[in-house]
């Protein structure tokens, strides 16, 4: 791909790379301007924009399937002087997951939750704008800016609907992320001071020839960057903000946030393979010493949290932490097979967690005052149907056969077979699976079997609307079933992504053009 395209030859197809960033931005602005047009318009327009993003992600995945790396120089300033957007297989895979997740979340919100506060649809689109931008950008400072965009939108979404618990959890969430942003800037500043560039491909080149006297500083900056990404990904010591924020926000927002931790995981993977990859000389494999042990501990602690949780949404939030742990174990193995397994697990974990968040809201609203807390309540309407759906979602999250959770875990364990830390990985993953099964089995029996016989009349939600409410959950579960049935092609795709990531030379070459 030419990185210095002639303006005259730029067709519509050349702008495909920037379209997933522009579409939600424009949609968000239109929704903001047309806020007088009523909620019906906002829902239809938001859904249309989300569908459009799915279409764009599919188009892009067709364009990068052969291993091409699309580079879009914003303002036609060539790298490393201007900011570039880079669509490689990994970025497009993340775009595809985001767009696929956004649709059910938006559908669920359109059942009425979007009316509990102002500007839900505007913030939702801006959140997608930040997410898509963060996945596509090839510039470290631009990554910071997109992080801020998606965080600012997420602050609004976390607080959507208002309420005491939400305000408190939101305050913690905002302050923690503000501190994270400061650290991000310090890391970015240090890297710029050392290398004089913020383009990730250029950084990767220059990191390989870091002079010895700068090495300590460069490693400090790299690890600081890792710390910031670990905060976003909710890795071990930095996950404490997540359960409260996710458990107290509204269900569609929590479902969308299932992808938020994956932004951190994506950034870690990108930094690990591009800037601190095997070819980076003295900076090579900077993160390896930290990533695997922390990921193993995160998995175990996340599952312990799920065991100790007192409500279904808090439990699901801890399961998100645990799934980040599994994901980063796979990335931390450092092999192509590990990355491929991790990316498969990423798609599965995102959809499964989102399905459970939506389901927790559905069940909670049918239990009246008690909500989704783990206390005996009256029988819920249509308990067989909801229980069946819960059972499938629990199978997915616990990683039991025959669904995609099991396949993901299996792939991760298989990738770990020739890794020196195999006993640790085996023990942690299997122990975590046991904890997950116990936690979810207890939840299921408590929600659906240990019920009081008497029914308090005010616990009823509109029963006729159950199927339409359940549709997004079923859609997400169907996606996981699809990942199970099509596990072969999906794993081939993630394998191709891993292969591309293991050869960062192509990425660097595509971004910097002919320069070696």
């Amino acid at each position: 791909m030419n990185t210095w395209p002639q303006t005259a030859s730029l067709g519509l197809a050349d702008h495909l790379t920037v379209a997933p960033v522009l579409l939600p931005l424009v949609a968000g602005i239109v929704l903001l301007l047309a806020r007088g047009a009523g909620i019906g318009f906002a829902r239809a327009f938001g859904l249309a924009a989300a569908l459009g993003q799915l279409g764009l992600a599919l188009l892009l995945s067709g364009a990068v399937a052969d291993g091409d790396i699309l580079v879009y120089a914003l303002g036609n300033w060539s790298a490393p002087f201007g900011i570039v957007l880079v669509a490689d297989r990994l970025a497009v895979w993340m775009l595809l997951i985001t767009a696929t997740l956004a649709l059910p979340a938006l559908l669920y919100a359109s059942r009425g939750i979007d009316g509990h506060g102002q500007h839900f649809h505007v913030l939702f689109q801006l959140q997608l704008f930040g997410l898509n931008g963060a996945f596509l950008t090839g510039d470290l400072f631009n990554l910071f800016v997109f992080f801020e965009v998606l965080l600012l939108a997420s602050y609004g979404l976390v607080l959507h609907g208002g309420g005491r618990e939400r305000a408190r959890a939101g305050l913690h969430y905002v302050v923690v992320n503000l501190a994270g942003s400061s650290l991000f800037l310090i890391a970015v500043g240090t890297l710029y001071g050392l290398y004089g560039t913020l383009n990730m491909a250029d950084l990767a080149l220059k990191a390989a020839s870091t002079p010895a006297e700068n090495l300590a500083l460069a490693r400090a900056a790299g690890l600081l960057l890792f710390g910031v990404f670990a905060l976003k990904a909710a890795l071990l010591p930095l996950y404490l903000w997540l359960p409260a924020a996710y458990a107290n926000t509204s269900a569609p927002v929590a479902a969308l946030f299932a992808i938020m931790t994956k932004v951190g995981a994506y950034s870690i993977l990108r930094a690990q393979t591009l800037m601190f990859g095997d070819q980076a000389g003295p900076m090579a494999n900077l993160l390896d010493a930290w990533l695997l042990p922390l990921a193993l501990a995160t998995l175990i602690l996340g599952m312990l949290g799920a065991l100790a949780a007192t409500s279904l949404r808090a439990q699901t939030a801890y399961l998100v932490v645990a799934s980040v742990g599994s994901l980063l174990i796979a990335f931390g193995l450092g092999s192509g097979a590990g990355i491929a397994a991790g990316l498969y697990y990423l798609a599965h974990g995102t959809f499964a967690a989102a399905a459970m968040f939506l389901l927790a809201d559905l069940i909670g609203r049918r239990r009246g005052e008690i909500g989704d807390r783990f206390e005996p309540a009256a029988d819920i309407d249509r308990a067989y149907l909801l229980g069946g759906v819960f059972f499938v979602a629990a199978l997915l999250l616990a990683g039991l056969p025959p669904l995609s959770g099991f396949l993901g875990k299996f792939l991760i364990l298989r990738a770990a077979l020739d890794h020196p830390a195999l006993p640790w990985v085996m023990a942690s993953v299997l122990l975590a699976a046991l904890f997950g099964v116990i936690a979810l089995a207890r939840t299921g029996s408590l929600l659906f079997f240990r019920t009081c016989s008497q029914r308090d009349g005010n616990a009823s939600a509109p029963t006729g609307a159950l199927w339409t409410e359940l549709a997004p959950v079923l859609g997400l579960i169907a996606l996981c079933v699809g990942l199970t049935v099509l596990a072969g092609p999906a794993h081939e795709t993630t394998g191709a992504i891993a292969e591309q990531l293991r050869a960062p030379y192509h990425y660097i070459h595509a971004v910097l053009g002919g320069q070696p």
Binding site: Y155, R168, G193
Partner: protein, 109 residues
């Protein structure tokens, strides 16, 4: 000049961290603001400190000062300003919802 700037950045960071760890929302907001000041100065200094040089290469000038950190700082200031405004409003909202200004909502009201 480098020593002075380092001391200023260090002091601002220390104050920011101390205040951010307090239990009431107002000191936390102030701490965040201090931290963002420190970060802005740090970013600015990363282009190296030069005096009396133009930010773009001009004919006849002996050198130039790196314009990129200045652009970065400008962006960081704008974002930091928006975040501060947001967190102040959020702190006020939390004060109203929780009945006091403790970050966990637990203090004496």
């Amino acid at each position: 000049m480098e020593a002075l700037l380092s001391i200023v950045i260090g002091l601002l960071t220390a104050c920011g961290v101390y205040l951010a760890l307090r239990g009431r929302t107002f000191p936390v907001v102030l701490g965040m603001t201090f931290l963002s000041y420190a970060v802005n100065l740090f970013l600015f200094a990363m282009g190296r400190l030069t005096i009396g040089q133009p930010p773009v290469i001009a004919a006849g000038a002996a050198g130039y000062t790196d314009p990129l950190p200045q652009a970065l700082v400008l962006t960081a200031i704008v974002i930091g300003f928006a975040m501060t405004a947001f967190v102040i409003i959020l702190a006020l909202k939390a004060r109203a919802e929780l009945g006091n200004d403790h970050v966990d909502g637990r203090g004496r009201s």
